[in-house]
């Protein structure tokens, strides 16, 4: 039961892109070991800029 709730919580966070930074850190650890990752704030602002440069919403 507890596991189910945790899974649901993970799904909700992923759908809301609440976990984007953790996923970025995860990737960064693998791909660029040693280099300093962006801070949470820098990452968030950069992502917003990227996301709103193309068509991301529809009629």
């Amino acid at each position: 039961m507890k596991q189910r709730l945790l899974d649901l919580w993970r799904l909700v966070r992923a759908l809301a892109t609440d976990d984007a930074y953790e996923r970025y850190l995860d990737h960064h650890r693998h791909a660029h070991a040693g280099a300093a990752p962006l801070s949470r704030r820098e990452f968030y602002l950069g992502e917003q800029q990227r996301k709103w440069t193309g068509v991301s919403r529809c009629c």
Partner: protein, 681 residues
Amino acid sequence: MRKFLWILVALTGAFAVGGIALHRGESINAMWIVVAAICVYSIGFRFYSSWVAAKVLSTDPTRATPAIRLNNGRDFMPTHRWIVFGHHFAAIAGPGPLIGPTLAAQFGYLPGTLWILVGAVLGGCVQDMTILFLSTRRDGRSLGQMARDELGPVGGLAAIVGTLTIMIILIAVLGLVVVNAMKHSPWATATVFATIPIAVLIGLYLRNIRPGRVLEASLIGVALLLFAVVGGGWVDHHPTLRTLFDLDGKPLAWFVIAYGFVAAVLPVWLLLAPRDYLSTFLKLGTILLLAIAVVIMRPEIKMPAVTQFIDGTGPIFGGALFPFVFITIACGAISGFHALVSSGTTPKLIGSETDARLIGYGSMMLESCVAIMAMIAATLLDPGVYFAINSGPGVVGATADAAVATISSWGYPVTAEQMHALAREMGESTLFARTGGAPSLAVGMASIFSSAFGQSLLALWYHFAIMFEAVFILTTLDAGTRVGRFMLQDALGHLWKPLGQTSWYPSVLIASGLVVAGWGYFLYIGVVDPNGGINILWPLFGIANQLLAGIALCVATGILVKHGKLRYAWVTAVPLSWIAIVCTCATWEKVVSTDVRIGFLAAAEALAGKLASGALTPEQAAVAPQLIFNQRLDAALALMLTAILWIVIVDMLRVSWRVVKGLPVPPSSEAPAVALAEVRT
């Protein structure tokens, strides 16, 4: 056993579709429509989509997708298919599928419902899935780039011009819907105004207080939005405050125009991004709530299956069933705009090619389902009430008595007392001539919600529904203005380099100003037009959206032929042919029809005649030259859109012909195949 189950689904579906098609009489339960829809979607998804994925597209689960090959932890990242499904659905679902069916309900519930089901299963879903797959094979390239790479520069240019045009018209018509919903409604206006500072507050929270904590910030924001709905009610009951928010159409139009400009030039984190988080939460929550409420309430549909207005004399928009039901319901059946999203962020997240089926076909099915719910919400109203809300004063008469007399004479009895009582219940001063679809949808949603979850809160539910529609209309408006700005900057950059720099402020201001001026013009004319600008703008938007779908289907068909799939090309060529026929016929009628409610040029001539003979009042005469010019401009625009569609079709046929004849064509832009196993090691 499985086979038996699917036979059962098919039989139930056939029975339900037959039921809604053949039913004639007082009323029919909405569950017939719901069951028919679920069966049609299930069969479409289980059989047609898997056949298209396997035979036509040949999706390959062993081939590494760009998300895997180019994984950068940000935009390229393999993501679980249900999560991508959620993101993709949130991106494609906008106000279109809510408004189109509401307007098309003037033909009765049947034509719109059938088109939504058939159009989605054979057209829209196939388009979305195919473009998503093709873009995934091309590292997430955009529709415009694919058109240029695969068909040539003509197709590419047409796609870009088409996209920019649809953006301008779409934003204008959506702006008009919001303005009409707020006009002389202090409650709605105060609530919608309040959403802007709330978004800014959330933007500051997400940047400075708890950076990037999207979930908690959204929950706070949604709570504030709900509070704004209640607060709007207080404003409405306050004698001085209410006059402050009791505004005419023109100032509201200027407000929307100013908002659009400001939102396009401000940093995204301040207004656009937080507003989008709120609107996405609200959208998904409300759609879910509506689906639950429809099932709990099981409302009776009061609108007849087919009305007399299929002959083209409808009060909401002029034009006969063919081609106008197919133009009016664009989103929900087939929407070209989706091709832009399907060739944008989504292909960069797909972890396996086989996921394109669930994400592309499945999301569009859900969007189509939203359109079905909007159709139910519109047709459960008494037809007399529905026509009283949605018909402009130019059609049914300016006074309440004139309007109810006209509408009752059509065979849809309604009384002024009934309308006043309804308006009082909804907390509005009047519901006559609230054109644009949003108010009647809100009345429908409020009656569904209140009878499913408690009768007493009708006015709150009504304004919640208005706020819900306004919030995501404004999100589409500011996101669209921003995209338009980038496209224009890209184009202007070819004329003079510095104008192409997206962060150079003079260029930002000029490009944003031009885009806002473009849609602001159509919005303003729509507001001053006494016959209601929806009658003009919505068909134009429908044509533009179908044109974009046509371009997307051309790109898909061309690529299928180039890849030796000529015998399967009908999968996209059949919907393409239908779109081409519908668009061309609609444009023809909108341009040459002698009926002033259909033909742009006839309307311009009629108005010019009245102006010359002095039959207009001074106020009417003052705006007449603008309206005449606008009608002629609309005719030119419709012709241009259809011409673009045919240029791309001819270009696609030229490329296909060369393929068949073995002549050289632009090479495939597909990224080289890399096996999944190679990347993993």
